[in-house]
């Protein structure tokens, strides 16, 4: 699997990047797992806000009204009222980070609105101007700041114990301790890591983490720790903090060992591969192997839930015009499922067992976002949605070759709106320049 190197962020500015190329950011409402993701729908271009006026000679801090002229994720391009169609003094700010208030906030807090110096003489009656510009316009909800604050609370805390996929052996889980929580992303340090560097990054809603005891309860392989004494302060993360999976009925027709399907390769997320159900676990979980690249001991099997958006029925790629990666070593081209099933004496997993739910996600091809490089999950990178197949998004990392692209579900907690890194204090990986890639 290919992974990227870290690029220093100096010099990258989302506003400039979006403005210079007239790009569109995916709206915050596309990301239900981010702060304000569930109550962003109200915010739109044309909205008026009160912001500090930086174009003044007054010594006291004063404010002025501005209009959102462009909205890109959390970031807004603002224009002070009075500049009309002149965009030369426009500025970008993060609506959840910068000092941006609903109209009326200044009066409530005893702060005066003062027009910018460069347009002070443009109008003789600023009151009449403001009445005309603001009457009937929209402003931020009055509880915007408190909602932002509220939505930035994360239930996971340092020293909580979880079960997480073993990044060196995908077929099993290990106990890990929460070491850091940034914007809902967890840095987990595997128990038994001597120096604390054997870590794994994932979002708290990732399907790769579970409560202590999960592996045992469903029959998943688990690496027992030899840690005899727990450090003080450690607690088990409560089960209710983890992603819930849908209940499934395994009593009727269900997945069986040996059934074939198509699956995103967890070690090469740009590929959807020919795969096999290797073991049926409890609670709807399945151990899946990629045909042709399977270790003899099953150490590279990986666990997907039956309702996972990363597994597909046989024929999904063909129907949707996606390249299906045939099994390594299988030379017959073009790959034909009919022949392959006959030759391997296997059957396709019934179509009705797969999830067909397609959320009204709102993503469009070309939209910009911040996305985790799942091959190096501590990196959050500048990225673009390049293709959409139902609920499946092809994520391209700006500046990198297409071979680094990743197929990601539209509800993945590893996708974030423009400005998320700035909001949470996570380091953003800017687009790669040719020299960096080399």
């Amino acid at each position: 699997a290919k992974s990227k190197s870290v690029i220093p962020i100096e010099g990258f500015d989302w506003g400039q990047y979006v403005g210079a190329n007239n790009l569109v950011g995916a709206p915050v409402s596309c990301f239900k797992h981010v702060p304000m993701g569930n109550c962003w729908g109200d915010l739109e271009e044309g909205l008026r806000v009160e912001v500090p006026n930086t174009d003044t000679t007054l010594s006291a801090k004063v404010y002025w009204v501005a209009t959102i002229v462009k909205l890109t994720g959390f970031k807004a391009r603002l224009r002070y009222e009075g500049f009309d169609s002149d965009g030369n003094q426009d500025f970008w700010c993060n609506l959840c980070v910068s000092e941006v208030h609903p109209v009326g906030w200044c009066a409530s807090n005893g702060k005066p609105l003062v027009p910018p110096k460069s347009i002070q003489h443009k109008y003789s009656n600023w009151k009449a101007f403001l009445v005309k510009r603001l009457t009937g316009a929209k402003t931020l909800p009055p509880d915007f700041a408190s909602k932002v604050e509220e939505s930035r609370n994360y239930p996971f805390k340092k020293l909580m114990r979880v079960e997480v996929v073993d990044k060196a052996h995908l077929c099993r889980t290990r106990v890990a301790l929460v070491e850091q929580v940034i914007g809902g992303r967890l840095r987990l340090v595997y128990e038994e890591s001597e120096d604390g560097t054997d870590d794994f990054w994932c979002h708290m809603l990732s399907p790769l983490i579970h409560c202590i005891g999960w592996s045992r309860s469903i029959g998943h392989r688990f690496k027992r720790s030899d840690v005899s004494r727990k450090t003080e302060g450690q607690t088990e993360a409560p089960p209710q903090l983890f992603l819930k999976v849908k209940d499934v009925d395994q009593s009727g027709e269900w997945f069986r060992d040996g059934m074939k399907l198509e699956a995103i390769d967890p070690l090469n997320l740009s590929a959807i591969c020919v795969a096999t159900v290797r073991k049926v676990l409890a609670d709807g979980y399945l151990m899946i192997a990629i045909d042709g690249s399977e270790a003899a001991d099953g150490s590279d099997w990986f666990c997907y839930h039956a309702t996972s958006p990363s597994i597909f029925p046989v024929g999904f790629c063909e129907i949707n015009n996606i390249e299906l990666a045939p099994p390594r070593g299988y030379t017959k081209r073009p790959f034909k499922w009919f022949d392959y099933l006959r030759e391997t004496r296997s059957i396709a997993a019934p179509v009705k067992l797969f999830s067909k739910e397609i959320p009204n996600h709102g993503f469009r091809a070309g939209m910009k976002l911040e996305a985790v490089d799942l091959m190096e999950p501590r990196l959050v990178c500048v990225a673009t949605v390049t293709r959409i197949i139902h609920r499946l998004l092809c994520i391209h990392f700006d500046g990198w070759e297409d071979e680094y692209d990743q197929w990601v579900d539209c509800e993945s907690p590893d996708l974030y709106p423009v400005g998320w890194c700035q909001l949470t204090g996570y380091q953003l990986q800017p687009p790669a320049a040719q020299t960096t890639r080399e």
């Binding site: 409402s29 569930n38 109550c39 962003w40 729908g41 109200d42 008026r48 609903p102 109209v103 009326g104 200044c106 009066a107 409530s108 005893g110 702060k111 005066p112 609105l113 003062v114 600023w126 009151k127 403001l130 009445v131 603001l134 009457t135 009937g136 316009a137 929209k138 402003t139 931020l140 909800p141 009055p142 509880d143 909602k147």
Partner: protein
């Protein structure tokens, strides 16, 4: 989208404070109806 998130736009009297004095305007703001 506002409907879906439980918010509804409402007309509100909003107070404006300038160096010359205070006045109010009618604007649209959304309230949390959850």
């Amino acid at each position: 989208a506002a409907e879906a998130t439980g918010r509804k736009w409402e007309q509100k009297q909003v107070q404006i404070k300038t160096l010359e004095g205070e006045f109010s305007v009618t604007m649209w703001a959304s309230d949390d109806k959850k």
